[in-house]
């Protein structure tokens, strides 16, 4: 494959897409090249967004930022940190898990609908994305949303773009709402619970008014169940105190503050508990939180999976080593039975080419998806097969 094309303007992207349509040669879209997820794209040419870079609008007092799609996430986070603000959805950094290098871009964060442990409280990228510009597979650049916080004018294509993995359009610019950074954070650590007890503790915690912003379970000797609070320090202390009183039946928790708490949650966000790149296959499984323990038990018993839980049990990370299909049959059947979905995020190239990465949709839903995609990219030139 030749070096990626590196357009620096929407007009150039439009021309590249038009040419691809005319020549019927599909394009693979890459941002930082850090999220090698989904079926490998069968494409003649890669288009890099790195030439489309730079923050185009930042109004701290209005909590809004726009950036061109190839802008590095690290650049945006540094800029925001200067005003003690952040993208509240805590975007994952895939590099440790996938063994990729390069710099995540805000376009890739958007196209993959990134999220992190704070999802249970703050949502994912989709919940903070308020505007997009994108060049569709028709070689036309459209906009949706804008730079204001509340907007129901026309169909919400920003939501469609978030999590489209580049299959509807090449994002050229995105606008996010921001939130203030918390003054401090505190984590309660309970040792020795099993997964079921841990999920009991975590879902109980999320049913209280104490505004938990992270709830994860790390198996091990001893296992650790983590519950995070963020905010002003007096308030964090108060809420942690009240909750540990309520959860007295689960033991006496240790309390971690600031950096000690932060580094733990960064590791969870980036899936470090599963270890660096190995020969195993990694699945990201999203179910309702109370189903988490059952998923863990079944995968441990049937395919010797190593797992941990985030989102109070609603997100199961599982590493599976051994079965020729990477555990796909077991994982897919289990998830289909429970309701939810599983994504194959790390696997040898051959397996990724052979298996659908994303949970197969019900036929009626798949038909809707196909029609929408066809309306954006009738010639099928954008990341073909990535989500298929």
């Amino acid at each position: 494959m030749t070096a990626p094309l590196r357009p620096t303007s929407e007009a150039e992207i439009e021309a590249i897409v038009a040419e691809a349509v005319a020549a019927r040669t599909p394009l693979a879209i890459e941002g930082g090249g850090t999220r090698d997820i989904g079926r490998p794209v069968q494409a003649a040419r890669a288009v890099s967004t790195l030439g489309l870079s730079g923050v185009t609008l930042y109004e701290p007092s209005e909590l809004v930022l726009s950036a061109r799609a190839g802008t590095k996430l690290s650049e945006i986070e540094a800029l925001l940190a200067g005003n003690r603000q952040r993208l509240a959805f805590e975007p994952i950094d895939w590099r440790p898990l996938l063994g990729t290098s390069g710099e995540p871009t805000i376009g890739g964060v958007t196209a993959s609908n990134a999220s992190g442990p704070r999802r249970i409280q703050a949502g994912a990228a989709r919940d903070h994305l308020i505007g997009i510009r994108a060049t569709t597979g028709r070689g036309e650049t459209i906009k949706s949303g804008g730079r204001v916080m509340k907007n129901v004018t026309g169909y919400d294509f920003a939501k469609l773009a978030a999590g489209s993995w580049g299959t509807l359009g090449i994002l050229t610019e995105v606008t996010y709402k921001l939130l203030p950074m918390a003054e401090t954070e505190t984590t309660l650590v309970y040792e020795g619970l099993d997964a079921a007890r841990a999920v009991d503790a975590m879902t109980t915690a999320l049913g209280t008014p104490f505004e938990v912003t992270g709830a994860a379970f790390l198996p091990g000797e001893p296992s650790r169940t983590l519950i995070r609070f963020e905010g002003f320090s007096a308030s964090c202390g108060y809420r942690a105190g009240r909750l540990s009183d309520m959860l007295a039946a689960f033991g006496a928790p240790e309390r971690l503050h600031d950096e000690a708490s932060q580094s733990l949650w960064t590791a969870i966000r980036d899936v470090r508990p599963l270890g660096a790149t190995g020969s195993d296959v990694v699945w990201r499984i999203s179910v309702k939180p109370t189903d988490g323990p059952q998923v863990v038990a079944r995968l441990e018993a049937e395919v010797s999976a190593r797992t941990f839980l985030d989102w109070s049990g609603g997100l199961v990370w599982a590493a599976i080593d051994g079965p020729a299909d990477g555990g796909a049959a077991t994982v897919r059947t289990l998830v289909a039975m429970l309701g939810g979905h599983a994504t194959l995020v790390r696997a040898p190239h051959g397996l990724r080419a052979a298996l659908p990465s994303f949970q197969p949709e019900a036929p009626a839903v798949a038909a809707i998806t196909a029609k929408i995609r066809e309306s954006f990219d009738p010639a099928g030139v954008l990341n073909p097969g990535r989500m298929g």
Partner: protein, 477 residues
């Protein structure tokens, strides 16, 4: 009748009315089919009462399967369908057409399942917004989006419009609080999208459906996120002698890292009317009033109030009052939430719903005054100040010939101004029929064509609520 035109009804459909009704009668029980003219009248308008259209018939199915049968039949007959919740749309979103059948979900109003461990509730789409909270309040939970119409409006309509409310600053709007829907496509196909997990596989279809104004499918059930009630909440009132000082105060609070649950703004005319109605204790001698609400334990509330007080002091509020009791808090919110109703007692009004970058507030308020003065009309402004969602109420007298048209023209100018300063036509009420022709000010041809392509892909004959959202000119069908 006023400026917004409805296309000529399809004569072929009108001619077949009896056959269409006979077909519907085979699909739903007699009580679910309304055909008599006086009974259809109840459905001829929504909260945009300047527009009225008597529908061909009204069906009120009780199950998803009935909805599917009705849609499949009407699809085959080529008959238009307007989905309806409670008909409180302020944008004419639920306005029928003479050649359309209204499909109301009011009989589908059961709460199906409450799951506090997973913080979800599954309801039929005709449950009211407040009905969701009522079903979980005794368990210590609530449903966050809180449109002022929450006593009447349905989850179906909230999903149709992606509705918001005063407390969305902290908790988000409808789209951030819906996890799944059951929906019937125009051809009668039943689909389930999303569910109790936090995210769904594939494209974010839910994100497209929420806010699609009844143009993509008819929602029959929804899985919603419920949240634990805060330990306590307290509003405070702050009055200012200028919109500038008030706007700067809001910006300073947000820049300090505090996101209150709500920051609501009223100008002098709005304050007068709301105070006369609700006796909320609003100061009458200020140009601009903020209602700011904070949440938490007693200590947390006290701490936040201290912080906000210190920040606000720099902007010299002429009134500063923290609610001292439950009753006072309720009165403060009653005044705000009944603002539209209170205004309706003294005048007819057009309620605008643009959103602007919050920094543009003073400029836009000045612009709004000038525009309305230019038409010889009065205006009162109510504003979700934290997120820039502006509700100018353009007052007029419907009995005076020409005044409605003037109010509409003023409203259109106001919305164009919102777009000009970087904002949008509608923040939470939807485009409906009201702002359909204004869409060209926010979107270009390419943008609109792509939106309409998605409509065509999912409803090829354009039978679902077709006269809304997109300008009549330039449609593919």
């Amino acid at each position: 009748m006023s400026a917004i035109l409805m296309p000529k009804p399809d004569q072929r459909v009108l001619d077949r009315r009896d056959a269409i009704i006979a077909g519907l009668a085979k699909l739903v029980p007699p009580a679910a089919l309304i055909t008599a003219e006086d009974e259809r009248r109840a459905y001829e308008t929504d909260a945009l009462t300047a527009y009225r259209q008597l529908p061909l018939a009204v069906v009120l199915p009780s199950t998803t399967e009935e909805v599917a049968a009705v849609l499949a039949f009407l699809n085959a007959e080529g008959v238009k369908v307007v989905a309806r919740g409670a008909g409180t749309s302020l944008a004419g979103g639920a306005l029928p057409a003479e050649d359309a059948v209204v499909l109301g979900v009011s009989k589908m109003n059961r709460v199906l399942e409450v799951d506090t461990a997973n913080r979800t509730i599954r309801v039929e789409a005709g449950v009211t917004n407040l009905g969701v909270t009522a079903a979980v309040q005794h368990l210590g939970f609530f449903y966050a989006p809180d449109p002022s119409s929450q006593l009447a409006c349905t989850i179906a309509g909230n999903i149709g419009m992606n509705s918001g409310g005063a407390h969305c600053l902290k908790y988000g709007v409808t789209t951030n609080n819906v996890l799944g829907v059951k929906m019937v496509m125009m051809d009668g196909t039943i689909v389930e999208i999303g569910g109790e997990a936090l995210d769904a596989a594939g494209l974010d279809l839910l994100g497209l459906i929420v806010g699609s104004e009844g143009q993509i499918g008819v929602v029959t059930e929804a899985v919603l996120r419920i949240l634990p009630l805060a330990e306590g909440a307290r509003p405070m009132l702050m009055g200012f002698q200028s919109a500038e000082a008030c706007g700067a105060c809001v910006a300073a609070i947000i820049a300090s890292g505090i996101i209150p649950v709500a920051i609501e703004y009223m100008d002098r005319p709005a304050i007068r009317v709301c105070e006369a109605f609700a006796h909320a204790g609003y100061p009458l001698d200020v140009e601009a009033l903020l209602i700011i609400e904070v949440e938490g334990s007693e200590e947390e509330i006290a701490d936040l109030i201290d912080r906000i007080t210190a920040i606000a002091a720099k902007f010299e509020p002429s009134t500063f009052k923290v609610s001292q009791s439950e009753a006072e808090s309720a009165a403060i919110w009653k005044g705000r939430k009944s603002a539209f109703g209170a205004m309706g007692r003294i005048a007819d009004y057009m309620c605008m719903d643009g959103t602007i970058p919050t920094g543009q507030l003073p400029r836009v308020l000045t612009g709004i005054s000038e525009i309305c003065a230019g038409y010889g009309l009065e205006v009162a402004n109510i504003f979700h100040a934290g997120d820039g969602n502006l509700h100018p109420l353009v007052l007029f007298n419907a009995n005076k010939p020409g005044e409605l048209e003037k109010a509409e023209a003023a409203g259109a100018d106001i919305l164009k101004l919102c777009v000009e300063v970087g904002g949008c036509l509608t923040g939470e009420h939807g485009v409906g029929v009201e702002k359909r022709e204004l869409m060209v000010h926010q979107f270009n041809r390419i943008d609109l064509d792509q939106q309409m392509r998605v409509k065509t892909a999912l409803d090829p004959q354009w039978l679902l609520n077709p006269h809304k959202v997109f300008p009549l000119e330039g449609r593919p069908v």
